[in-house]
């Protein structure tokens, strides 16, 4: 098992786009973490006002300042905390709900499985943003509301995947062997089925993070997500949008970081998928409908 994982990591390290992606992700995470620990990375605080209003990029303010004279670099770093943690929290939620739901469906099989997956099929066909906006009406536009809405729409992909993996794995000989040893069902699920399904799950979660970051920033941009004083890349871009004509730097830098982060996660996810199973490059769309 660990040998298999090592060779997958070796293959991953030979994919340049994935490695560049990983490097960018780690850098941004480190910066966000340092900022969260209270370490000053810029001479200005994210909410500190200065007298240079709406200044373009300069030596003093590498990304310029906003209409209150706040340093944009400091705000982008501060926004990274929220954007990155929203992405990671959503992936965690998707993993927890999706794997439990998928495991039950895949392990139970037959009628229960059919019923559970019917529900997922219908919910899956609705546009995420539509559902999130409607749920947002109920939950309000705070961080918690956004996180619940994101969690609600993002677990279904993982659930399908876990179910498909379980259905495929549960007839394998090593599962039969585990039962023959007298292991309980729960034990088989946790110790044998789940670890063997982990590869594809990790790939799916790697794609969950960027789509959560995209959804949050899009919602905030159209005014249905977070709003100031909350500060994410989405709210910063939304602020910048209003002065696109005269001060394009205000939307450029937050957008650049959303783009870089999402791109990096997508490259890493593509790389992980190819490294874990070179075959999936060919047939990832074959079983698209999941039946």
């Amino acid at each position: 098992m660990s040998e298999k994982r090592n060779s997958a990591l070796q293959r991953l390290s030979k994919i340049p786009t994935a490695m560049v992606g990983l490097f960018i992700i780690l850098s941004i995470c480190v910066v966000a973490l340092l900022s969260a620990l209270g370490i000053e990375l810029t001479p200005f605080a994210y909410d500190q006002t200065t007298t240079s209003y709406l200044a373009g990029p300069s030596f003093e303010h590498p990304m310029g300042t906003d209409e209150l004279g706040r340093d944009l670099l400091a705000r982008v770093i501060y926004g990274a905390r929220l954007s990155i943690s929203i992405g990671l929290t959503t992936a965690l939620t998707a993993f927890l709900i999706g794997s439990v739901y998928g495991a039950i469906a895949g392990f139970a099989g037959s009628k229960i499985d059919g019923l559970m997956m019917r529900g997922v099929d219908i919910a899956y066909s609705l546009p995420d943003l539509l559902v999130m906006i409607l749920v947002g009406v109920l939950l309000g536009r705070g961080t918690t509301g956004i996180l619940i809405a994101l969690g609600l729409v993002s677990w279904m992909g993982t659930a399908r995947l876990v179910r498909a993996q379980f259905l495929q794995l549960k007839n394998e000989e090593f599962i039969e062997a585990a039962y023959a040893q007298g292991q309980s069902s729960l034990n088989v699920i946790l110790k044998h089925l789940l670890p063997n399904a982990l590869g594809p799950i990790i790939v799916a979660l790697t794609f969950t993070v960027p789509s959560a970051i995209l959804s949050e920033s899009t919602l905030s941009f159209i005014g249905l997500g977070l709003s100031p004083p909350a500060c994410s890349w989405g709210t910063l871009a939304s602020d910048g949008w209003r002065s696109l004509r005269a001060h394009p730097h205000l939307i450029f830098f937050p957008s650049l970081f959303i783009f870089l982060t999402v791109l990096s996660f997508n490259f890493l996810g593509d790389g992980l998928r190819d490294a874990l199973d070179p075959r999936t490059r060919l047939d990832k769309f074959k079983g698209g409908s999941g039946h």
Binding site: S125, D128, L134, G136, V137, T218, L244, S255, L263, D283
Partner: protein, 308 residues
């Protein structure tokens, strides 16, 4: 052929009813109505307004009233756009969104499918890497960034194209390009996977060994067959375009369904939220029904495969 289509469409009725009921519940259990924000109106007027729109009745009575009206095809009135019914608004907004969505889909197919085919035919090489790089870029740039970038370059700096509203064909170009990015990238990946699969088939080798040229094999045998999965993702594509339209119509101030949906949510304009959501749900149901039918028309084997 007609009967299964009708059956599928008939099955959509309960789905739409569930969507209507869930949305109704969702919107009505939220504290705060359309008349209690912003300017504080005298309480008598608020009471009158609530009585006029039956908002003073218990929720279950409102629900019965709503479903009753729905069955007669009456989607209700907008609380914010005075004297306009939801039917009126949707009647104006729907064609706008359809035009936008259609042009964007055509662009997405025109660029996405060749991009995917190019990638697959040069598998593992430079053209594969480049094409997939471009498609990953396409899914990684948020719609509002593409929109803002295009507006800044083509409208503000170069002053080539108009921005905002929906007046001339020139107004369609930037929004449609913005909207086409993410379905285009999706189609490119799909086409690539599907061409890769087909290139390996025996009958492709047969076509080549009977002397057919490379170009003819690609055009007549490979591309044509790889289009099947492309047609069958119309459901997800519709969902992608609807999602994209929220952002694109917001940015370009286009009076389409996406924009009305967003303003309706902001204003708690109950009937307008419900009406737009129902139209979106109906579009998705129609797209998915079309896919089911197209599946069987394009490839009779699918019917057998689906059963085992």
């Amino acid at each position: 052929m007609i009967f299964p289509i009708l059956k599928r469409l008939f099955m959509a009725v309960p789905v739409l009813l569930i969507v209507a009921s869930l949305t109704f519940l969702l919107v009505r259990i939220v504290p705060g109505g359309p008349f209690d924000s912003e300017k504080s109106l005298p309480p008598e007027i608020v009471a009158n307004l609530n009585a006029k729109y039956h908002l003073d009745k218990p929720v279950h009575e409102q629900y019965v009233l709503y479903i009753g009206r729905l069955c007669r095809g009456d989607l209700g009135v907008s609380y914010k756009y005075v004297n306009r019914t939801v039917n009126d608004i949707l009647f104006d907004a729907f064609p706008v969104s359809c035009q936008l969505g259609f042009v964007a889909l055509v662009l997405a197919v025109a660029f996405g499918v060749p991009l995917g085919a190019i990638a697959a035919l040069g598998r593992g090489g430079r053209q594969d890497f480049l094409a997939m790089f471009v498609s990953t870029l396409g899914v990684s740039v948020p719609g509002f960034v593409i929109g803002a970038g295009l507006i800044y370059i083509f409208a503000i700096q170069l002053k080539l194209l108009p921005v905002g509203l929906w007046e001339s064909p020139w107004h369609v170009i930037l929004p449609a390009v913005t909207l086409a990015f993410s379905p285009g990238a999706y189609l490119a990946r799909l086409t690539r996977a599907s061409v890769l699969e087909i290139v390996e088939k025996d009958w492709v080798r047969t076509a080549r060994s009977k002397g057919l040229s490379y170009q003819a094999t690609v055009l007549r045998h490979i591309l044509r067959n790889s289009l099947i999965p492309v047609v069958t993702v119309l459901g997800p594509l519709t969902a992608i375009v609807i999602t994209g339209s929220f952002v694109v119509e917001y940015i370009y101030a286009i009076p389409g369904m996406g924009r009305f949906f967003i303003t309706a949510v902001m204003n708690r304009d109950y009937d307008l939220i419900l009406g737009t959501t129902l139209v979106f749900a109906l579009l998705l149901v129609i797209a998915n029904t079309f896919v089911d039918v197209a599946y069987q028309l394009l490839d009779p084997r699918m019917r057998m495969n689906a059963e085992d």
